[in-house]
């Protein structure tokens, strides 16, 4: 059945992707939607919510405001709140109701910017796309606006693009990527967007190379390449051997994927379900250190430019069920177990899928031996 999720969960939405990407940058981020189900972001999808302050709001649009298209109230609320809180920027994030009404977020952002003098951005998310679209939109826009000046290139200096808790949790994985780079002679310039400031983003053009750690970081990497000629390598340094291979790719200073696209099916054949860049990296790490083949099933977006020969896009739950028929085991978020009753199942939690439920069980696999004992 198309567009039906009967046994598992759904991934975090594009609007939450924007919120997650902008969480630490000092802006005022406003989801324009009715209050209620958007609290899923704070209670499930944002592990930083209780420990780290951020100006994330919901406009709480009412039925009559939606019917009347009353943008003025929204604008007044934005201007008044921004004047009180003095955020570094204002981000307006779309949701299903304004999407159906055709709210023009760019136009509203323009008005708010004129009235407050604070840079303002409209994000045309709709809550019906998945979180990488939102991360991608937010990172590209913020880099486009803030990183405009070419700074002198510093050799062996790297930006990390696409880091959010939705893919990496807050279990130390992102810090481990930074450590791994440092221990290999690199200076980490900016990690978009964890432990990161707008000043770091302004200085992104200093980097000699970018490391893209999720699909959400790809568009920003392409922008930095076209604007400043900074090449990028796609991959996450999971496992020891795959991390070494990724390091070799970084040293070449050329835009490339961190993996070979050719894949050979082995006797032990597993499937890994998840976001393309993190999952392909993890699959490669397992293949490098074990006698297995691991295909990636990507339920989020069709990322043909990233897939190896056996990886596939699985937009529907039925597609996942079909694909896992031919594998010996499945590595996926625990909520996928319902689909895999007759197979070996290896739980690997993903915040963007199960929120914070399994957060404590999420291992940090960066530059860690992946040999199965």
């Amino acid at each position: 059945m198309r567009q039906v999720v009967g046994l598992t969960s759904t991934y975090s939405s594009d609007e939450f992707g924007v919120c997650s990407a902008l969480y630490e940058l000092g802006g005022m981020v406003v989801m324009h939607d009715a209050s209620g189900c958007n609290s899923t972001y704070t209670t499930h999808d944002e592990p930083r919510w209780y420990d780290q302050d951020s100006m994330i709001f919901i406009s709480a649009i009412s039925e009559m405001e939606a019917i009347m298209g009353d943008d003025d109230k929204f604008i007044e609320d934005l201007v008044q709140t921004a004047n009180e809180l003095k955020p570094r920027f204002i981000a307006l994030v779309g949701a299903p109701i304004p999407y159906m009404m055709g709210t023009d977020f760019d136009a509203i952002a323009q008005i708010v910017e004129e009235r407050t003098g604070i840079p303002s951005f409209g994000f045309m998310t709709n809550g019906m796309q998945y979180y990488p679209n939102g991360i991608s939109m937010a990172m590209e826009r913020i880099v486009d606006f803030y990183c405009t000046e070419k700074k002198e290139t510093q050799q062996n200096t790297v930006n990390i693009l696409g880091a959010t808790p939705l893919d990496f949790s807050i279990n130390g994985s992102v810090e481990s990527i930074q450590e791994w780079l440092k221990s290999n002679g690199y200076t980490v310039n900016c990690t978009l967007a964890m432990n990161c400031s707008l000043e770091d983003i302004q200085n992104m053009s200093k980097a000699s190379i970018n490391l893209v750690v999720s699909t959400g970081g790809l568009k920003a990497a392409k922008l930095l390449e076209s604007r400043f000629g900074i090449p990028y390598v796609v991959g996450v340094p999971y496992g020891k051997k795959f991390a070494s291979k990724l390091l070799e790719k970084l040293k070449l200073k050329k835009t490339s994927l961190g993996w070979d696209r050719k894949q050979v099916k082995k006797e032990k054949h597993l499937a890994l379900i998840g976001e393309a860049v993190t999952s392909i990296s993890l699959a490669c790490a397992m293949e490098e250190e074990n006698d297995v083949s691991v295909i990636v099933l990507d339920p989020l977006n069709e990322n043909n430019e990233l897939y190896r020969t056996l990886d596939v896009y699985v937009p529907e739950e039925d597609d996942v069920m079909e694909q896992i028929k031919s594998v010996d085991g499945i590595i996926a978020d625990p909520l996928y177990k319902a689909l895999c009753s007759n197979k070996e199942f290896y739980p690997y939690a993903h915040v963007a899928f199960s929120g914070r439920i399994f957060e404590k069980d999420l291992p940090n696999l960066i530059n860690t031996e992946m040999k199965r004992k």
């Binding site: 999407y99 055709g102 023009d104 136009a107």
Partner: protein, 249 residues
């Protein structure tokens, strides 16, 4: 690139004006796209010999997927005018305004303007600015100028005023501005005077005065514009003059 949105009361002759204007621009050697923004999807019919193009919303409804190429949803009509219709949901259901916005973002994804490189884009929009979707053609990046089609009839002028007010309300949003009034005559008493007063009160210009003409009906019955039917007719000259004027300005 000249990008114009044509608004006016339902049945006032927007599609006739738009299609003749498209034909006139092409006669002047320009590459033209006409986008009908009305669920009725009849804007471009007379550029296509009376055989309509499949509207974008119909394509999505029937195939249950978005079109992958411009060719899936466009047809080349008289004078190589590229004809597109947004169409709309099943009458009585859904949201027609949202259909227009969805079509526009789809055309953006398909890089219509980048690939086709038109000189002129014409948006023919349903009767009135009734919701966010029907204002989409005048948002930033789409039409830069609005033409309001009206006769001297009271209700046509009433609708024209609504459209003018809506566009004025969007002034601080960087939307399109009203370029002028196209008087499409219905032969009512003191018609020019009435429309002229309306225009003056709003500091607008009547940029074309189109007489009532049986030639238009004659050629529309054959599925064509008067420009295609006989470009030497006086009525054809009126459209050609309007096209020239818009290009010069």
């Amino acid at each position: 690139m000249l990008k114009l949105a044509i608004y006016g009361k339902g049945g006032i002759g927007k599609s006739t004006t738009t299609a003749n204007l498209a034909a006139a621009f092409s006669k002047l050697g320009k590459k033209v796209i006409q986008i009908g923004c009305d669920p009725k999807a009849d804007s471009t019919m007379n550029l296509l010999g009376g055989t309509p193009v499949q509207p974008v919303m119909n394509y999505i409804r029937e195939k249950d997927e978005e079109p992958e190429t411009i060719e899936d949803i466009a047809k080349v009509g008289y004078g190589n005018v590229l004809c597109i219709e947004t169409g709309g949901p099943t009458p009585g259901l859904g949201c027609a305004g949202r259909g227009i916005i969805t079509t526009f973002s789809l055309l953006e994804d398909l890089e219509l303007f980048e690939n086709y490189q038109p000189d002129v884009v014409l948006y023919d929009v349903l009767g009135d600015v009734v919701c966010g979707g029907f204002a989409a053609p005048i948002r930033e990046g789409y039409a830069e100028h609005v033409l309001i089609v009206t006769s001297g009839e009271k209700m046509a002028l009433y609708a024209a005023n609504n459209i003018y007010s809506a566009v004025q309300n969007f002034e601080d949003r960087g939307y399109a501005s009203v370029k002028g009034i196209v008087l499409n005559r219905r032969n009512v008493e003191n018609e020019y005077e009435k429309v002229s007063n309306f225009a003056k009160e709003r500091n607008l210009e009547i940029i074309a005065d189109i007489p009532r003409s049986n030639d238009i009906t004659h050629y529309e019955d054959q599925g064509m514009t008067v420009i295609q039917g006989d470009a030497s007719l006086p009525i054809s000259q009126v459209y050609l003059d309007l096209a020239k004027k818009l290009l010069e300005e």
